[in-house]
Structures are given as C-alpha cells and as structure tokens.
C-alpha cells in the first residue's frame, strides 16, 4: 500500500468513526457546469433545473428503495482541464451512477471519454457540437438539437429572410464556437451568400474594437457570432461604439439576459439569436415545470429546462435499473422509448442525440428576448 493510499484510508476510517451511526446509503447523480467565472449565470440556471428535477423525484418516493438520492454539483469553470478533473472525480466515486453535464462542448468532449471508460451514463443538456456524439460512445446522450442544424438554420434566416448577402463571421475559437461558425459558413456559401471573412477571438478578451473597425470598413450586411454571452455582449456594445451598422446574429450561447444587461438594451435592440430547441414557455408539456421553477428560482434561464430534462431522464433510468449499478442504468437508458418530457415525447437516435430537434429564433426587443418563431427544418 502506498503512503497516499494509507493516508486516504486513514481519513476514511476517521470519517466513518466520526459519524456514529451508519448513514443511509446514497445513490448520486453528478452535475458539472461552470459555477464560477464569467459563464456562471448559465451554470447556475442549469444547476437550478437539476435541483428541481431531483426534488421532484424525491417527492415521488425513493428512486432506489432504501437509498437517498443526492446531486453532486461540480464546477468546471468552462475550462476543459477542470472538466476532465471533475469527470475523473465523479468516475472514481462508486456512488455516482450518472452525470448531467457539461455546458461547453469543449468541456463535454474530453469529459465524455472519461465517462465512457467508467461505463457511466452521461446526459449533456446543451453541448451542441455534433462531433461529440460521433465519437461512438454508447454512454453519451444529449437533450438538445445540434449545431449542424443550428448553423444552417441561422444561415437560411440571414440569407433568405434578412436578405443579407455579405456576412462577416466571428467565433470564439472553442469547440462550440468554431464548430457552429463553420456550419453556418458552409450553409451560407451554399445559399450563394458572400462570406467577407471569418475570424476568431479569445475568450476572456475585452477589446474587440480593432476587429470591429476592420469589419466596419467592409460594410457587411450582417455579422454572425458563434460564441458565448460574455464576449457576445462586448461585441454588441463595441459594435455600437465603432458605428458598425447592419444586422447582428448569434447562436444559443448568447441566450442569457445578462447579455442585454452587459451590452445595454439600446445596443442589443434588434439582435437575433437561435436556440437549440423551441421556446419552453410555449410548450404545454412544460407548463407545470415553468411554474414550479419560476416560483422557486425566479425567471427561467436559457438552459434550465434542458438541465431539468437531462436530470429527470437520468433519474428515470436509475429508477428503471432499480439498483446502484452503472451498467444497469445504462441498459435502462438504452431501452427508453417515448419518455414524456418537457418538449414532448423523448426518444434518442443510435448516437444518443434527442430526436426532438427544433431550432428557435429570438430577437431582442425593448431590453428583453422575444420569441419570433421556430426555424428548424
């Protein structure tokens, strides 16, 4: 036995000794998203959704008879390194039988390999890069639409409905941003649109005026940004500062009220964005959820419903398995058909992607996001 192992064992014995009576056995669901850092508002919204799902499940009775259900929330700080560390931590805990997470595709991608190796069910609520499910991991599921739908849908809207012929594309060089931007670019070229340029920015950077000034000189009809809201807000604000005209459109990463707050309502008026699913507020199947969520946590976040759905699915699989066993939970998930979820009857394809694949279109009006319509295929 190594010295470290002995130390760990000693600690464990110490802990067990300190508890007095034997604790009730627990079965755990892992949850990982950025809970600190600039993307924490998204992570917090997701965590609230997951919490609500767990509480609803507990209210319905023990998931596994005699075992307490527990949510283990970890923070990946939107960093792939932290994501892998969190995944390893969850994989090493025998009580964890399923994971809900992560938010960023760049985090979900490397983490999915670790969950696959640990034979543990992973359901990502919102990581939309299509490559993740093409790795062939049977442990991977996802409850949202993917960017090979989102990008082309946005391109069709920009080219056909906004009538923008000349478009400049910006992405944040992450798995999500670059992937979405490439899908958009390819689709736009297919629609005979002119791509004036496609450049990357660095997450965490603040000064985009040099890039926007350059773009302004090209006089684009529209700028498309694939990235997250902290950078999106600065782009929208600085776009107004440098006097860059035309339309501004982005992907689901922008869908957070903080975007409008940081960018100011004036500068963000008329900005368009797509979401990886339709408007939750309009789903009759989600009405009870929305009511319960808003009563407890306030306004519904962009990704709260997906996190609730993913967590509920994981709990459903654990309930079906009936025991704390990763393989049994996976097998139960594989057998799922017509699960009555928030967005209708959930089914998954052979890659683990949800068959409910709608793309929503929102715009900013008077300082708030307003649903325009569904623009999925």
């Amino acid at each position: 036995m190594t010295r470290q192992a002995r130390l760990v064992l000693g600690l464990l014995v110490g802990l067990a000794g300190g508890c007095g009576k034997p604790a009730q056995p627990v079965v755990k669901i892992g949850f990982v998203a950025p809970l600190t850092g600039d993307q924490a508002p998204h992570g917090e919204d997701m965590l609230n959704g997951a919490r609500l799902a767990v509480d609803h499940a507990i209210a319905r009775g023990d998931v596994i008879p005699g075992q307490r259900l527990e949510l283990v929330a970890l923070d990946d700080q939107r960093s792939p390194t932290q994501a892998v560390a969190a995944a390893k931590k969850l994989a090493a805990d025998p009580d964890v039988v399923a994971v809900v997470g992560h938010l960023n595709s760049s985090c979900t991608m490397p983490a999915s390999a670790i969950y696959h190796q640990a034979r543990m069910l992973q359901i990502t609520p919102v990581s939309s890069n299509p490559q993740i499910s093409r790795q062939g991991f049977d442990t991977f599921y996802r409850t949202c639409a993917t960017d090979d739908l989102q990008g082309p849908a946005a391109a069709r809207f920009v080219a056909q409905e906004l009538g923008a012929a000349r478009v400049f594309i910006i992405d944040d060089m992450t798995t999500y941003g670059r992937g979405l931007a490439n899908e958009f670019e390819q689709a736009l070229r297919g629609l005979q649109g002119t791509v004036l340029g496609h450049e990357g920015i660095t997450q965490g950077d603040k000064d985009f005026t040099p890039l926007l000034t350059k773009v302004k000189a090209m006089r684009p009809d529209a700028v498309y940004f694939a990235g997250m809201f902290p950078e999106g807000a600065l782009l929208i604000k600085q776009r107004a500062d440098v006097g860059l005209g035309g339309r501004f459109m982005g992907g689901d990463g922008l869908f957070d009220p903080v975007l409008i707050e940081l960018a100011t309502p004036q500068a963000s008026e008329g900005v368009y964005l797509t979401t990886i699913g339709s408007d939750v507020h309009r789903m009759p199947t989600a009405e009870a959820f929305v009511k319960a969520y808003e009563a407890r946590f306030g306004p519904l976040g962009a990704y709260s419903a997906y996190a609730y759905e993913a967590t509920s699915l994981a709990i459903w699989a654990i309930r079906q398995a009936g025991k704390k066993d990763r393989a049994a939970v996976l097998a139960a998930m594989k057998a799922l058909t017509d699960y009555p979820g928030l967005f209708g009857l959930q089914n998954f394809d052979e890659r683990g992607d949800s068959r409910i694949r709608d793309i929503g279109l929102f715009t900013v009006q008077g300082g708030a996001f307003v649903f325009v319509k569904s623009i999925g295929e």
Binding site: G37, G200, K206, T213, A233
Partner: protein
C-alpha cells in the same frame, strides 16, 4: 472609409487601451525601480480599483450617463475613492507581505507576490461574486467625426486622464524631494539609509502611488468596457507588465511609451493581420525587441547590485 482613415481609427483604438496599459505599467516599473521586485499582484490592484469605482456608483445608485459638472464631480469622486482604497491596499501589501521579506532572496518575494495575487482575486470573487458585473456607462455615448475618424468622449476622457497622471508622476519623480528620494533609493538603498533618507517610507509611498495609478486605470477600464470581472487583473496585468518590460523596466517614461506601443501594436495586429493572433502578435514583438535590445526601448544598462 479610406485606408488612411481606417489606419487612424485603428491607431485611436490602440492608443485608448494603450493609455490604460501605460497607467498600470507605471506601478510595475516604479516598484521594480526601487526594490527590484516584480509585483505580480499589481494586476489585481488594478482590478480592485475597477471594483472600488463600481462600488461608489452602486452606493450612489447611478446607472445612467450624466453630463456637465455632475459627471466630472462623480468621475473625480470615483477616482478618488478608488485611488484611496488601492493606495491603502498597496501600502498594506508592502507592509505585510513584502517588507518582512526585504532581506530574503528575491525569489521569495516574487512567490509572495503571486500568492498575494491569488489572495486578492479570490477575496474579490467572494465579496462581489464570480460573474461579470456591469459597470454603468457614465459618459454619454457622444462621438466626434474628425475627418472620418470616430472619436468618443470616453476615449478623450481616457487620454486626458492618463496624460494628466503621467505628467504628474513624471514631475513628482523628477522635481520633488520625494521623487529625488525615490531615485536615490533606486540607485543605492544602503547609502540612502546612511544619509538619513527614510528608505522604508519611500518604498511604501512608491507602492501607494503605483497602486493609485492602477486604480485609475481600473476605473477607466470599467468605463470603457462596461464589465468587470474578478480575473480581469490577470491578462491586463500581464499586458501592462509586458508594456513595462517593452519600455525598459524601471524607467518611468519607458512604461508610458511601452503601454502606448503595446496598445497600438495590438490594435494594428488585430486590425490588419488577424484578431485571433492579437495576443500572440504583442508578445512576439516583445520577444523580438528584447532579442536585439534587452534593456527595452528606453531602458539603460545598469550594473547589477551585489
């Protein structure tokens, strides 16, 4: 937009962020000048300055642009509060973290500075929360068109504010007794002590001045980008440090020049080459310059102290 107008616009963009880099770089260079310490917590002082200015605005409940004397008064109030708070922070940092290590190896103080930086980042995260905070846009979004080049009032305010401070610092160091004591301490603290110069107090004052300048930099940064985050001090601090090295560490006009040059290089690099290479470009230029002129743009070769 003609190519010339575009170039001038990019120059204006670069000079704005460059002016902020220069203000922060002054603190790095002044502290290095007197005690040969790279105060890696200086970037965090800058970030704290932004948060202090934000706190004043939050306390007064101001979230909309203002005009006239009210605006100027408020800006001065924010600047004063941020400078006072950060000055105190700089003084405390020197007194508690660096002075006890004055006789220790240089590396010890450097590690302490890095620890201080972590401490400040996490303290601000716990106090203000981990998410981006909106910094109210105080200055009206008015712009001037000078021959097709757009200049905002905010940019003018940043240039004016930093120019005043830089001239002030230069005058303080070159023309006052305190400045002379600082320069003397930089040359030989041992001899200064023998001559009755209160070296410890001079060093403390240097920290206070450097931190106060960074505080103004933080406030201007908040006004310019309208968001602040607890880890903003990291990258911006690193850039300012680069600016100080670029200009010649320990040299005050060098820090100002280095800041402006770095800002312009970044702006032109992102504007003409590629935005995704913005940071790479700035650091490549630094490495290139140091290869040929290791002392930086204005730095002079001085013999290492024993």
């Amino acid at each position: 937009m003609t190519p010339l107008q575009l170039f001038l616009q990019q120059l204006a963009n670069g000079l704005t962020i460059g002016a902020i880099y220069a203000l922060i770089a002054l603190g790095y260079t002044m502290v290095y000048g007197v005690i040969q310490l790279i105060n890696f917590a200086h970037g965090e002082v800058f970030m704290v300055g932004a948060y202090l200015a934000l706190s004043v605005l939050l306390l007064l409940g101001i979230s909309q642009p203002l005009t006239g004397p009210v605006l100027i008064g408020l800006l001065l109030l924010c600047a004063a509060a941020a400078m006072a708070g950060c000055g105190l922070l700089g003084w405390g940092m020197e007194r508690l973290a660096y002075r006890p290590l004055r006789q220790a190896q240089r590396l010890t103080a450097l590690i302490t500075a890095i620890g201080m930086s972590f401490f400040l980042q996490n303290a601000v995260m716990l106090l203000y929360g981990a998410t981006d905070r909106r910094f109210p846009a105080l200055i009206p979004a008015l712009r001037w068109d000078v021959a097709g080049v757009t200049i905002t009032w905010l940019q003018l305010a940043i240039w004016a504010g930093s120019a005043v401070l830089m001239v002030g610092v230069q005058a303080l160091v070159m023309r006052t007794t305190l400045g002379r004591a600082m320069r003397a301490t930089a040359q030989d603290p041992q001899a200064c002590r023998l001559l009755g110069i209160p070296v410890d107090r001079v060093i403390a004052v240097t920290f206070v001045i450097g931190s106060a300048l960074a505080a103004v930099g933080g406030m201007l940064f908040g006004l310019y980008y309208n968001t602040v985050n607890f880890h903003d001090g990291y990258l911006t601090g690193l850039k300012a440090f680069t600016a100080a090295v670029l200009g010649g560490i320990g040299n005050i006009p060098g820090a100002m020049l280095g800041g402006l040059v770095l800002g312009v290089l970044e702006g032109l690099g992102a504007g003409y080459l590629s935005a995704q290479w913005k940071n790479v470009f700035a650091f490549v230029v630094l490495v290139g310059l140091l290869l040929f002129k290791p002392t930086g743009l204005l730095g002079e070769r001085v013999a290492d102290r024993a």
